[in-house]
């Protein structure tokens, strides 16, 4: 069973990497926001506004966390509701592996490793994930 799940994880990781590369290429408009100074505040008003929060890129507790708006949803399926990924419109990565995040109706955020505990911004969700992981590697989420 562990052998099977590792193979599956590796296969999915390869697919994801390819998808992420293609994704960056078709969304050049978001690149301009990609390199905020680490530690800069998240976009003000993100709690109230339906607009996507700004990108971020920093090293937190020794791990690289990145976040950026995505052009639409559906860049990969979770294979469950039949409609694919719910299209958060924003992607977060920990050391290059996508962390599944979700925005709540009130503008707060959660991630799959901290799913019952909303925080104000996607950067806060990424940091909470690093805290929770304690150095463990994240698995690409379609393999979860």
């Amino acid at each position: 069973m562990p052998e099977l799940s590792r193979r599956r994880a590796l296969t999915t990781a390869a697919a994801l990497t390819a998808t992420a590369g293609a994704h960056t290429a078709v969304a050049p408009a978001t690149r301009a926001n990609d390199h905020h100074t680490p530690g800069s505040p998240d976009s003000p008003g993100s709690l109230a506004s339906p607009a996507s929060p700004a990108s971020f890129d920093e090293v937190y507790k020794g791990r690289r966390i990145q976040g950026r708006p995505t052009a639409g949803g559906g860049h990969h399926g979770d294979g469950h509701h039949g409609g694919g990924h719910h299209g958060a419109g924003y992607a977060v990565f920990v050391d290059g592996v996508e962390l599944h995040v979700m925005r709540n109706a009130d503008g707060s955020w959660i991630s799959v490793v901290s799913h019952y505990d909303p925080v104000p911004t996607p950067r806060a969700a990424a940091r909470a994930a690093v805290d929770e992981l304690r150095g463990a590697r994240l698995l690409p989420f379609p393999a979860n």
């Binding site: 069973m1 562990p2 799940s5 979770d78 294979g79 469950h80 509701h81 409609g83 719910h86 299209g87 958060a88 599944h100 979700m102 925005r103 709540n104 109706a105 009130d106 799959v112 490793v113 901290s114 799913h115 019952y116 505990d117 909303p118 929770e132 992981l133 304690r134 463990a136 590697r137 994240l138 698995l139 989420f141 979860n144």
Partner: protein, 274 residues
């Protein structure tokens, strides 16, 4: 007839049989299918899209059916087993018998959160975490670390007093009983308990910790208590709501049962104290 008992009142033999049945489902691979299903809904249920298992009116009937499926699986191993419930407003300390080595085992060690005792400790070899979101394959907990206090009885009562089942926009922003019980608004009952336990219970793969079932069995009991307290209040919405399971619409993944079919738990089980 299945009788769901308070975990605190189980006999040693009842605990032993429950644990053995859970371990057998794990060994056979049936347990992990439940974890996979739950995570798929956690990832798929969104406030502005289709929502079924969580952050929606069907949170309660969906979990009632999910627990029934799990309980039936347990009973296929040992017909005497029923799901116990954990009243976390009473058994609210890490010293509760729930966390003893003869039942679920205790909190994780500080180094890495690893649970070190009980039948579900990784060292037994009987509880590999296979459906997971990170590289760690051992059961973890951090009881009371991320949030200090479990909900109190007074907080539970304040939510049971809410007469309206649920309200538009039928999601995590709603007022009403369902969302306050789920915990996205207000004093926060169900969500806070997941956070209090920590480890896998705080994640989308929360059924990896067997306490998931005891937590949800108590949430389910609170729904039954609410129904008795508000006999004139009904499940809503009744019809015609996009992305939301109406009273007579079938629920995924079963597609053969509606909230209306699940309102009366007594068709399936009773509680020790009603």
């Amino acid at each position: 007839m299945t009788v769901r008992k308070n975990q605190a009142s189980l006999t040693a033999e009842e605990k032993r049989r429950f644990v053995a049945a859970v371990l057998e489902l794990k060994r056979s691979g049936r347990y992990d299918a439940f974890v996979t299903t739950h995570n798929a809904f956690i990832l798929g249920d969104t406030d502005n899209g289709e929502r079924t298992g969580h952050r929606s009116p069907s949170f309660l009937p969906w979990h009632r059916r999910f627990l029934l499926e799990f309980e039936r699986a347990l009973q296929s191993v040992d017909a005497s087993v029923a799901l116990p419930y954990w009243d976390w407003s009473v058994d609210r300390s890490t010293r509760a018998s729930l966390w003893a080595p003869d039942f679920l085992g205790g909190t994780g060690r500080s180094l890495d959160g690893r649970v070190m005792d009980g039948a579900f400790a990784a060292s037994t070899g009987n509880w590999p975490i296979s459906v997971r979101v990170d590289g760690r394959t051992y059961l973890r907990r951090a009881l009371g670390a991320s949030v200090r206090e479990l909900p109190t009885r007074a907080e539970v009562d304040s939510v049971l007093a809410m007469a309206t089942y649920d309200m538009a926009p039928w999601n995590s922003a709603s007022e009403g009983f369902r969302n306050h019980l789920e915990g996205w608004r207000g004093v926060n009952l169900h969500n806070r308990v997941h956070v209090w336990v920590g480890g896998q219970m705080a994640t989308g793969v929360s059924p990896n910790d067997p306490v998931f079932w005891l937590h949800h069995a108590y949430i389910d009991k609170l729904w039954a208590q609410w129904q008795r307290r508000h006999p004139g209040s009904a499940y809503v919405p009744a019809a015609g709501t996009p992305d939301v399971v109406d009273l007579n619409e079938t629920m995924k993944p079963w597609n053969d049962t509606t909230p209306a079919d699940l309102l009366d738990h007594t068709a399936h089980y009773a509680f020790d104290t009603d």
